[in-house]
């Protein structure tokens, strides 16, 4: 199942060696479907900027990014991989800062560039270590080398750091919620759908290369997944800005994927091939599924933002009457991301749940306890994601418009923008109702990571329950249509009046009476305020007779505010001291160089 393309390259240690294997296949599928649909969408979306902004440059970097993504996923050589990785990073930077007249966008782009380069630094170290020990730059050759546990552990940690920054694992995610809202929407879709998945791809590739890792690595993966997942969705719940909320949800889904990888590694550590393949396969299927529904949601958000000219959810409302098609497609994405049956999110979460329960039942104590933690976290993530997406769908598309000023023009966006969304929504439903094809592809990817072949276990153990799920879904659809017809039948002779909403006796209800996204999320955010740095200003009545009051609330990122900001400002302080001690005379530097040369000479002569 491997196809290798080889060509010589005039770069030291470099060779153009591309390999298509089951692991790259699933990532490549995600890249292809998303690059095409986001690109088509971009044609419609960028119309607004034609003539005003450098659209040509944008298209150039878009295509460069697409190429770099494909090379990153298929590269079979360290130098080629790192080269493509850099091209991908830089191309993404230029795509993010498209609207660079805004200071926030420039800042977000810069943060992205710094964060990813910190990651690349770890990757250089990691690949250097690997190539140094194995004596080759070729992935296949490195995979044949066996590493001592200490080295393997070091490589794993460097990979987790380097690739984790790209993937947005907590607490290295801080660039992500800034970069996604700053970029144009089809770029956010591509970023969230596939660009951050290259981090996951990297982790998978390392799992494949390293073979057996020390036992603790599986626990680290599982716990990182749990933390990212739960915290990601909690932060998402506290957001007021649509694209920022979706960005935090990417962190949650990366958490689910890493959780799946953790289950797979646990299985591999305990020589349980079935568990291994379920864990890795579930994670890979979730990679693909998340590309579909998150791409869809970002494209929908782009349509909403272009229509309302704001990203603030509490300024929206009633958009399903304005954009009926977009609202239905967004609902598909929302249901899929909550992992609800009939849609693809449920299938991959089902498989990961299945793996976790298998681990719980069959593994000895520490493994079983870790699986129990994973199950609880995944259940909590599901419930919180539901709260989060009912909030989004309810405040953006349902109810009445909260907008001050003139109403928006009704009408769905152009076909350039709706057809890509239709493709993605259709794929979500397709995998949700017929998971066989993609499931097999994902499981063969899982087998490939674990170096297993499918003769050693029976995949029908998980495929048969999946067909039970599909059966249930079809019964549900049949029941639903039956009930719709029953209602129509019962109402056939009666008049069905349309009236105002019953407002408990209030008259003259204005749209401002509606619950806002912040008030909907308040009960949960308030419950976990210790974790979230949630802040509230105003809202207290301090006089006997209430006058005008104002309340604002916001949720701040704890990793950013309490970890990186103090750390970086300390670092800035240290550099300032060093800077002050600089003597700005060329002669001094010449002397430094001379002294260093003498030191080297002495060291060599020793």
């Amino acid at each position: 199942m491997e196809h290798i393309f080889q060509h010589s390259w005039q770069v030291p240690f470099g060779e153009v060696s591309l390999k298509l294997d089951p692991l790259s296949l699933i990532f490549l599928l995600a890249v292809s479907i998303l690059v095409v649909s986001a690109g088509l969408y971009g044609v419609g979306y960028m119309r607004l900027y034609r003539g005003a902004r450098p659209v040509g440059m944008h298209i150039f970097f878009y295509l460069l990014l697409a190429l770099a993504l494909v090379v990153v996923i298929t590269a079979n050589n360290v130098i080629l991989f790192l080269g493509a990785w850099e091209v991908m990073t830089v191309a993404t930077y230029f795509l993010i800062v498209f609207n660079d007249e805004k200071a926030a966008t420039r800042k977000a782009g810069f943060l992205y560039l710094i964060a990813t380069h910190c990651g690349v630094f770890c990757l250089f170290l990691m690949f250097f270590l690997m190539s140094h020990i194995s004596g080759s730059m070729n992935f296949d050759a490195i995979a044949r080398t066996s590493f001592s546990p200490v080295v393997a552990g070091t490589i794993f940690c460097l990979a987790l750091l380097g690739f984790g920054i790209k993937a947005g694992l907590l607490p290295f995610h801080i660039w992500l919620p800034h970069a996604h809202p700053a970029a144009p929407s089809h770029i956010s879709a591509l970023l969230s759908g596939v660009a951050i998945k290259t981090g996951i791809y990297g982790i998978c590739r390392i799992l494949w290369i390293m073979g057996a890792l020390p036992d603790w690595c599986a626990y680290v993966l599982l716990i990182m997944g749990v933390v990212s997942g739960v915290m990601g969705v909690l932060y998402a719940l506290g957001q007021h800005e649509l694209k920022k909320l979706l960005a935090y949800h990417s962190i949650e889904n990366i958490g689910i994927i890493v959780l799946g990888l953790g289950v797979g590694s646990l299985g591999r550590g305990h020589q349980m091939p079935f568990l291994t393949v379920i864990g890795f396969g579930g994670a890979l299927l979730h990679v693909f599924n998340h590309s579909l529904f998150k791409g869809l949601l970002f494209l929908g958000a782009g349509a909403v933002i272009q229509k309302t000219r704001t990203g603030e959810m509490d300024r929206m409302g009633g958009l399903s009457k304005v954009m009926p098609l977009v609202s239905v497609l967004f609902l598909v994405g929302a249901l899929a991301i909550c992992g609800l049956p009939l849609f693809n999110g449920f299938i991959s979460e089902f498989i990961i749940f299945f793996g976790l329960f298998q681990g719980l039942i069959h593994l000895p104590l520490p493994g079983a306890a870790a699986c129990a933690l994973g199950i609880l976290a995944l259940a909590l993530m599901g419930a919180l994601a539901l709260a989060c997406f009912t909030k989004v769908y309810g405040t953006v598309f349902l109810g009445r418009s909260r907008r001050a000023g003139e109403p928006v023009m009704p009408g769905d966006p152009s076909r350039w923008m709706t057809i890509p969304m239709l493709i993605l929504a259709g794929s979500c439903v397709w995998i949700g109702l017929a998971p066989e094809t993609m499931g097999r592809i994902a499981f063969s990817g899982g087998e490939y990571i674990a170096h297993l072949d499918s003769s050693r276990f029976n995949l029908d153990q998980v495929m048969a329950p999946l067909s039970g799920v599909i059966g249930g879904a079809f019964v549900f659809l049949a029941l639903g249509s039956l009930l719709i017809f029953l209602r129509r039948f019962l109402l056939r002779r009666l008049s069905v009046p349309v009236n105002e909403t019953w407002a408990c006796g209030f008259s003259q209800v204005t749209p401002r009476f509606q619950y806002s996204s912040a008030s909907f999320a308040y009960s949960i955010v308030n419950f976990v305020k210790a974790l979230l740095l949630s802040r509230r200003h105003g809202g207290q009545l301090d006089t006997i007779f209430p006058g005008k009051a104002h309340v604002s609330s916001s949720v701040h990122d704890a990793a950013e505010e309490s970890m990186f900001r103090p750390l970086l400002s300390r670092l800035g302080g240290v550099s300032k001291i060093l800077d002050d001690n600089q003597v700005r005379h060329t002669q001094w530097y010449l002397m430094y160089i001379f002294l260093f040369l003498i030191f080297l000479l002495a060291w060599k002569m020793r």
Binding site: F354, G394, V496, V509, Q514, F520
Partner: protein
Amino acid sequence: MVSDVYLFIFNISISVENEMMMLILIILHWLIALLLSPFLLGVISKVKAFFAGRVGPSLFQPYYDLSKLFQKSAVYSQTTTWVFRAAPVVALASALLLVLVIPLGGLDAPLKFQGDIFLVAYILALARFFMIAASFDTGFSMEAMGASREAFFACLSELVLFMNFITLALLTRSISLSQMIGADSPLSWSHLGPTLLLVVASLFVVLLAENCRIPIDDPDTHLELTMIHEVMILDHSGVDLAYMTYAAALKFLIFATVLVPILSGWTGVFIKDMSIYITGLLGLAIVVGIVESSMARLRLNRVRNLLLIAFVLAFFGFIVTMWRG
């Protein structure tokens, strides 16, 4: 023909005989659930009336209410969209689907497979998604206020539910609901007494929470500000309200049905099992009625504590199971 459909949907080929049996089983499940579930609500209100020293409405009052609602027309708000009309359909369809996953008395669950517990949890979530969306759709704060509470409490009760699933999966080494609750082979109380007691206690709290009973929510309250579930369906009327009410009744039946086999286990004799089952259901309805009559509704910011207590109980059950190996 039906066997072809079965092959297509369930990927299982079954003989004509089995196929007829399966169809009959499915229809029996729906019949029993639809006929029995409103009666349980009648029992609860009768018990409450008894404790309040009233005669109370007839045991069959929920049936009269439902038939009245089914004959009435619906009023729709001009703010609402199709989501509002979809919610009752989704709620009732998902409740009817769940009826197929649970064993009713001696009747096996028609839809059972390893991992059906995830289907149960997420079908419940699907119904909840549409209920919450519908309450946003009305464009008024009261409905969304209830929805906000529902979303929050659901997070906690989902945690409790899965904690219990974990314990039961460890006990029975299975992740199919019928086996986990001891409907296929009874759980032994003499061996597992303490664990099962903890599981039953925390699942009972989940039953109260998910079915909006006192002390979490008061189905009979008349103050919209303090309601959870009732306020969410404030704008539904006629047939839609009937769907919602029926779905709520079925949901109570489903949660009670999960508890009964854990408590007693089946004997394998159909008539005996059915009578144990129905007695168990009535018993649970009476217990719920007693709880409702003897307690006041908790203040809203205390509800989470009750659910957390249920979680702690379930967690102890897990610890005991783990410790015993």
